[in-house]
Subunit: 251 residues, 2 copies
Amino acid sequence: MPFSPAHFTTERRLDDGVLERDFVIDGIPGTLWTPPTTPAPLILAGHPGGLQSMHPRLVARARSAAASGFATAAIELPGSGDRDPLPDVDHARTELRAALASGRPVTEDIIDRLVLPIVDRAVPELQATIDALLTLPDVDGPVGYSGGVTAIGVRLTLVEPRIAALGLFAGSYLPRATLQEARKVDVPVHVLMQWDDAWNDRQRALELFDALGSQEKTLQANMGGHTGIPPHAGEDAGRFFARHLGVALPQ
Amino acid sequence: MPFSPAHFTTERRLDDGVLERDFVIDGIPGTLWTPPTTPAPLILAGHPGGLQSMHPRLVARARSAAASGFATAAIELPGSGDRDPLPDVDHARTELRAALASGRPVTEDIIDRLVLPIVDRAVPELQATIDALLTLPDVDGPVGYSGGVTAIGVRLTLVEPRIAALGLFAGSYLPRATLQEARKVDVPVHVLMQWDDAWNDRQRALELFDALGSQEKTLQANMGGHTGIPPHAGEDAGRFFARHLGVALPQ
């Protein structure tokens, strides 16, 4: 993919000194948050799509990461927000909701058609995002991936050597193919799961952790439901990235 | 049980300022480690028995706890060290080793006969230890239980209201009865397990975590084998006790 720079469209300084900038790379919208002290290692924030609706949660994650010395970037997912729709994915999502509504099992076929087309498109876009953002004076390597859409994080880590640490939130539907790809992951991994997550397949999450090929991997499970991750769990994830992305935290 | 004071037999100041004292309570030997700053909340250190052979690892745990502001105490387990032998338990241990040596499965019956008699005896002894040590000017409540012999930690937490936080190392044989008792545990619990622990029944450890009745419970799994717990896992366990035993750690 030819290199494309980031075009910044907005710039806002938050009260805690974090600089929030919306950008466009190759026509794909995204947001970059940088801490007061730069250059800062970059963490790509995974999310289920919809930058606008996810903004409050993404800002909270970016502020927390900035407090630990990290820059955070998120791009709009293929088919989400203002991007061109992906009719086949939308159809799979409709099937998923129908299955959930009627209590029918969510088949592997539905999960594959819902997740894999997004993974195939999002991963090269995230690589282009890394290319563009690492040219900025206030963003530095190494790079981490953090958060949901586990299938994107696993695939990106496999194909992108600049990913030095992988933080996963095992709360999304996981294609079987991702379990196979996970065996080839060899960077340090921190897997966060909510034990009582109504939307999560606990057994599949444990299979994912077992499959990960990394010598250094940590699974942390807590209570509180899908969105009830306790504060200490977020702090532990921050310390994981600090250990592996070379940021010195006060102990 | 009538109150019995602790008779101290030795006293040694370690290079990091930790005071190590051997004691006897009701004829049961133990060791108390207190940090330079007291009074300090007490953590009872679980171990598989044999205070002398376990001493290097117990001292390391006590030094680490002292650095976080905690006092640590360990008593000799029934049937271990210089204490009167428990022939039935020794017989079960012989059966266990024979089963392991011949590749036969370790039956629930062997586990029950190996663990439960020790639990029945050790728990009231640990309660007497709390009674005695909390009268000392440099030891304070609340009290935590940390470490191996999960069955002792679970039973003690059920019967002893002074236990405010329970840290378990899921690396020991677990009687079925302990899974039932775990459902009644309601204090915050931190369960540490080694995912690739050759001596640990991974499924039983996950059943234990699922069974625990506590609203606040955390499972952390790492790699490195039975004795290869990574440093950050020990630090996370220390932060768990700091949150629940009221010690302020630098963040």
